[in-house]
Symmetry: C2
Subunit: 203 residues, 2 copies
């Protein structure tokens, strides 16, 4: 199994973290994002969206970090991480949607501005980051994990960009329950950390 | 079963459309978005994100349009619409992520500007809309459905906001394969249309 990734991509970290949490080995293939490798015909054939991560498993190619987690959970029968039950599966999906939406276009986008110089309105994306963090804080003050009383791919999906939100000037100080949840994820067997950059509030 | 919805929300239409496609009756409860009902304590108790749609099924409450489709597909055993196979499930997830990401912050956001006066950078969101449409056009020129050679919740997730993209000044004229795919969705038994507004290119 090969994971095409980039060390500073939180989407790539999400996939790498889940591989590690379930103890599945994969060769890490670094994609030269600064050199534009993700926009080459060879890479676009793997993923027409031109994004990392991409997982290759023999002839199977899966892109989208949420999609990769679903593939791995299903392939290896990890119903603890991705429940089969209708309600719990829906609740996990709810957070995968948030990871692809409010998180990607909030705290993750704010970090794109500071770390990669992306052109986004900082007020808009930082504001969206805090709006999500307020909801997470309220929830995580009452429960340890997002769904089902145990770690699921919902927690993995939200972890990486939330942990590095300060790099995009999204301050985690007002959210103690979120910070405790981050620490719980970091204490899971198999956890691998997401590279830090000297950007934003983390500088 | 009760679906809290709003007629001009594409997210709400997505859930309503899927209910209809699988032949499940639900009472439609209109949420007064213009009057701010979605920000009241009673509604925030149903969905802390303050968004439609929300599905109530007895004591069960599910929010997020993708989450609602997962709930319904699992509850009613619709593995044709949401495959159990690892690769196909991952491919469906890939498009649910796109629906929550590139679509919501692209063509859907462009329509929020014209229909609801939302403050977004039109160039940014219209550009994101076209970037997704180019990828869809390339794919749908080669296949009838997004995943598995048959309609799945991936198609339902992408339909509503793609169909109404012109209302946000995202022109569908350059994308004939996308328009043919929209027509295929509209020809499915149980299809219900998404309300039109006189905005953007549709005006």
């Amino acid at each position: 199994m090969r994971l095409h990734y980039f060390p500073l991509s939180g989407h790539a970290h999400r996939a790498r973290l889940f591989l590690s949490l379930i103890g599945v080995d994969a060769e890490l293939v670094e994609v030269d994002l600064p050199g534009g490798e993700h926009k080459t015909p060879a890479f676009l054939k793997l993923n027409p969206f031109g994004q990392v991560p991409v997982l290759e498993d023999g002839d199977v190619v899966v892109s989208d970090s949420n999609g990769i987690m679903v593939y791995l959970a299903k392939k290896f029968g990890k119903t603890d991480w991705l429940p089969d039950d209708a309600l719990q599966a829906a609740q996990v999906q709810r957070w995968l949607s948030v990871a692809a939406g409010e998180l990607a276009y909030g705290s993750a986008a704010a970090r794109l501005v500071t770390v990669f110089g992306a052109k986004r309105d900082p007020d808009e994306v930082i504001g969206r980051g805090h709006a999500l963090l307020k909801i997470l804080e309220d929830l995580l003050a009452r429960q340890d994990w997002l769904v089902a009383g145990r770690p699921t791919i919902a927690d993995v999906a939200l972890y990486s960009y939330t942990a590095r939100a300060p790099e995009g000037n999204v301050d985690l100080e007002p959210y103690p329950a979120v910070r405790q949840w981050l620490a719980r994820v970091e204490a899971l067997p198999g956890f691998v950390s997401f590279a830090r950059t000297p950007a934003g509030l983390a500088a």
